[in-house]
Symmetry: D2
């Protein structure tokens, strides 16, 4: 917790969440990653029940909905804790992409969609996915999109080719981004539509093997073909053509969640790095941590992680106060800054572990592999840097 | 100003200080740097009077002493403003090493020393210097020291060789660090003693030419030989052997001052970089700022400057709340992090300015040259990284 | 090929090897990595036969032994070609650790060992492994070692715990480094001993899962317990206590092999990066390669790869002319320099590929994961930097 | 000397040049930089005479012209030696911009111009300058140019505003780049014209103060206004409109000269860094060079300097064999790579020197300040990276 951002609510929850992940998740986290999803899921269900009993469930939800009614700034600090273990978010039903879908539907879905899809999602009875990225179009320019949803009476007919639809395997429904208004101006062409995964024409071609893992269940990223996939018009979220506007809404808090999760990973990796440095003997009482290079890495990591946390929490507070739109630049800034710190800290932690660091005997390899995407997804860092700079230069008349 | 750290006092002063430096100092700052100190000093005296009239004088002093009674956190935010121009601190009597000497004497000097030296210093009637660094001993290990002060009746006899005694040229007195208790344990050997610069045996050998500047008046760093230099025993600050303890006290706020000044330099250089990028045409309407590399530099600088400011202000607040001692790690962290950001931002700003960037037609060359020392003085960055890491590893049993 | 290092022999072989890997290996290299080793091995055997027919087999061997009698400098340039595909070295019987073992036994093994083990190894009838690294001792200080080989009559009894014994799974024998002379000075304590893998007490505990791959057959790194493992005294290579001296001998050419292989990987990744940059459209004819950031990465990679190749070939030539011993500093230098370039080039290539770059649909993920070890194995980069610097500073009297 | 690039001629000259700079220049080089040019010039003249006597004069000239007839590759290796001291090139008449002007006029000037200007230049009787850069146009796009030369009968009338005309102060003539064919295609608009500096209308406005130095004599960079400056048409070098073509010709060898000079600076700074590291005591026998961070800097510098030298010499040899045109990419590559290494090595050397490193008591400050331009002049690094990348991507169909 950071002094300036600690509230009473947070002070009450923080130690409970910390204890929960350390006692319930740390001891078996490596197995969670290795074993088949069906077995893992079985165990995680029990952990989820326990979290509910302890009042830790989905703390970003309002109290009526079963959560703790936390602000983004408060939740962010728990999110850092959850990020310290790969399934922390999942067990508390705070995992992407579900949390983003929940936030989105909460604000923009119809009562009908809320009852049918949002309610069981909030309870953790089903999972969902978000189907936006396409292999044939550069993610750095999201307006480029090939998937279409054509109205045919009361139904949309959806056709298209998506990939990197995270956690589609086992999800009950997808929120699909598709072009519905091809003649509108670029940013008003697409809409978001709920597509149950058992709809004929929803064809999950494969879980994409990523960085050495085949992917399965929640821990997967799917390639999906939508082939004449028909859903009721009422599955539209928001208005026709509002897809990108909604995506922007979804991204603001989403980036806070990601960044705080990354900081959680950093803290865990930092802790592992220090433990190793303090306990690995080179010779006669000289430890790895006596090496000045290792000391440099520890000091630089500490500085960069602290800087990351302050920046993200200040951005979160700005979103809490002024909304996502007014915080666009802060959100771009933390995205590329923290993603870079994440990769640096993981890399140093691995180097300090030596050969052990590249094995799957620690969490470092999992993160090193699967968080490499942090610099790519949600728009590559380069896009965020350019858009931040352009906004700044606008103020100088360019 | 940063939302979370803005107070009513600060909100009142901030725009006044901003207006003052922009209107009174920006227009002629390059001349201040080039012209002989005697001429410059003449003009600056008038600016100082104006600052007093406007109630901007030495805002870190209490109101009774003619200041505004600001906390370190409040003052830091003004210090950033002052740092945007090379003589900002001087004009408001906030310049190193005087501010450090003032803070030190305030807490630890006798009533007599206060009346004789501190009072005119606070009023800006005299200048002072701080004589610690020695050419023959590595600055990274301050306990190594060759200068001695031997008691002879009621007088100290001081002998030694110092350099990098900033602003000695024209100063009324030096605070000299000298070994008084050679047989004590290393950290208790030295004391701080006030030595008027007109004392026989205070020999200012030369102003050291630094990065192309001969140095003169306030803008100088002297090499000094102390040759049988006699001062009354009552010129001792604090107790015998308390030199390093006092130096530590002096350094805490001192590093906040430095870091916020550096951030001020960063903001000015950033502003210059953006102005140049937005106005320099490459060809047919394509500006320098349209180059993605320049955009990267702008975005990365923005992120790093923001990170620096948050870290320094959080550290300042911790010192305000808990004192320097409890904030040692934060103080080490900001020192090396911000010094590094400073050099990166200056380097990028120069590169964006092209040939103009290496001329003395802008401030960038001055800062590029004279702030290179930021990674060296007050202990080289490497020492701060090592001491931060060691403190962290202690928590892991090393 | 590099003009200055091209010989007639090389000019004749180079295009043949190039054609061979491009036509025989490129088309199915991704399957080689994914399919079970037994299936892969089956196909690779056929490729190996073809290589023999084409006269490409093990070109570092003398012509009598079935090779082409290349110098290290000549072979290095072929090794770069082979490195462009993950199984290039294997198919031409140039793969580590076999090539290192061949070079070692060639020089130092007895006639009996040569006949029994070296001969079939050179023909590719069997595989071997090299068992040195131990989990309980820091690899950065190889003199630390727990495995012992005690003489009992005409037999060694070996006990110890090794890991990262590459390709032990399926190997016919291991060369084991074990302490035989515990009372000698540190560098003369260990010896190298041939241990057939079917010896009772040679217990391959597991193939260590590394960076997401379980590992199998040649593509594996084993953890091995030696439990009262008995082998004839005549299985000793060289003299008692000569283990570290032999290891040093083995490492010289070994680092050239590794570095040239890394450069091959760099060239392939560079080629993929450029292909992608030139073909991925962002919008309306603007390609990824038009982005200045991508251009920076391409230019910097080109420079660094060229620099790497020049340095390694100059080092190889020095070894050819003066032997490993006189080239120790050059060998340390290329190790850390090229390993660093390798990681940078791979990282940039991945970023240019966006989401595709983190999938296992290209080779980049395989190399990104499995070459991370390049900065660790054969002594972490930090150790090489320190030993280079110490040797240099010796020349300055330190 | 580098084994592979050493010739008999070079082996004979190299030790003589080395001895000359070490004995004749090293002892007083700091004074050369500080004292007024007229005094310095006086002494340097004597050194130049001595160099002539020893047969070291302008070794890139043919033997008939008083040189040694060295290839670019041979001369480059001497140039590295000369670069180790700031006035090395000057004393052997190898200094920019004269050497570039000599090479240019040699190939393209008329017999008349050669007799009048080239001959005394080669003998060192006069100095020259090269007037191309303009303050109002971005140097990254040299085709942009405001200076014009209009034919009026047998004379050119030149008008324009130049700056960074190196060494104009005291030069006998300038080679001026001016637009003569405004309606031609961009690369064929400008011409090179010889303008004696005593021509009416040649107005040297000021020596531009750069990085703290006012600049004077050879050590200066001038701002010049050309105001109706008339010179005979026969002062044209080459053909009308051939200016950029000639500039390209001039740049090829010019970049080899610069890069080898930079490597010379690197070697000297490296030597200073190692001397300091080996001799500065931190405490009780622990030297600065025992610090691992310092060791890292030494090792990385060694690797990068070696890489630089290999790359530059390979490029030089390519120019020797194939001419500048075919070596364009190699020339761009070494420019940005070596400039970057230069700045890194200087920065590390300064940090190792601590406070001493920022004084003008060593050469490091001079180079740190005046070589910062290396990343800017001759086209900023960013332009070279982009042009290299574009040329590479052309090969991929972009």
């Amino acid at each position: 917790m950071t002094e300036l951002f600690a509230t009473d609510k947070l002070k009450a929850l923080y130690p409970k969440v910390k204890q929960f992940i350390e006692e319930e998740l740390y001891p078996s986290e490596l197995y969670f990653l290795k074993d088949p999803w069906d077995e893992v899921n079985h165990i995680l269900k029990a952990k989820r029940e326990k979290a509910k009993e302890l009042g830790l469930w989905a703390p970003y939800l309002s109290e009526e909905e079963g959560g703790a009614g936390l602000t983004l700034t408060e939740f962010g600090q728990l999110s850092e804790l959850l990020g310290r273990t790969p399934l922390g978010h999942y067990v508390l039903n705070c995992q992407a992409p579900d949390i983003g879908n929940i936030e989105l539907m909460h604000q923009f879905a119809s009562a009908e969609l809320k009852e049918k899809y949002l309610a069981p999602l909030m309870k953790g009875e089903i999972r969902s996915c978000f189907s936006m990225t396409e292999p044939d179009f550069a993610g750095s320019n999201p307006v480029n999109m090939g998937t279409t949803a054509v109205l045919d009476g009361d139904e949309f007919i959806i056709n298209g080719h998506k990939w990197f639809t995270t956690a589609a395997d086992g999800a009950a429904f997808a929120i699909v981004m598709a072009v519905t208004n091809p003649d509108a101006e670029p940013h008003k062409r697409a809409s978001m539509i709920v597509v149950p995964t058992d709809t004929p024409g929803f064809e999950l071609t494969r879980n994409i093997p990523i960085m050495g893992d085949m992917g399965e269940g929640y821990l997967s990223h799917a390639e999906i073909h939508y082939v004449n996939c028909r859903v009721p018009k009422s599955n539209l979220i928001g208005e026709m053509g509002s897809g990108f506007m909604l995506a922007q809404q979804r991204l603001g808090p989403g980036r806070i969640h990601h960044c705080m999760r990354w900081i959680g990973i950093c803290e865990r990796a930092f802790d592992m790095m220090c433990s190793r440095a303090a306990s690995r003997e080179l010779r006669d009482g000289r430890m790895l941590g006596h090496q000045q290079t290792v000391q440099n890495w520890i000091a630089e990591s500490r500085a960069e992680i602290n800087a990351s946390r302050y920046m993200v929490l200040h951005a979160a507070q700005k979103i809490d106060n002024e909304g996502s739109k007014g915080s666009r630049l802060e959100i771009s800034t933390i995205k590329f800054y923290v993603a870079d710190v994440l990769m640096k800290v993981l890399d140093r932690a691995i180097q300090v572990h030596g050969a052990l660091g590249i094995t799957d005997d620690t969490l470092l390899s999992f993160w090193y592999r699967h968080e490499r995407g942090a610099r790519i997804y949600d728009g590559p860092d380069e896009v965020h840097k350019a858009s931040l700079a352009k906004a700044i230069l606008k103020g100088y008349g360019m």
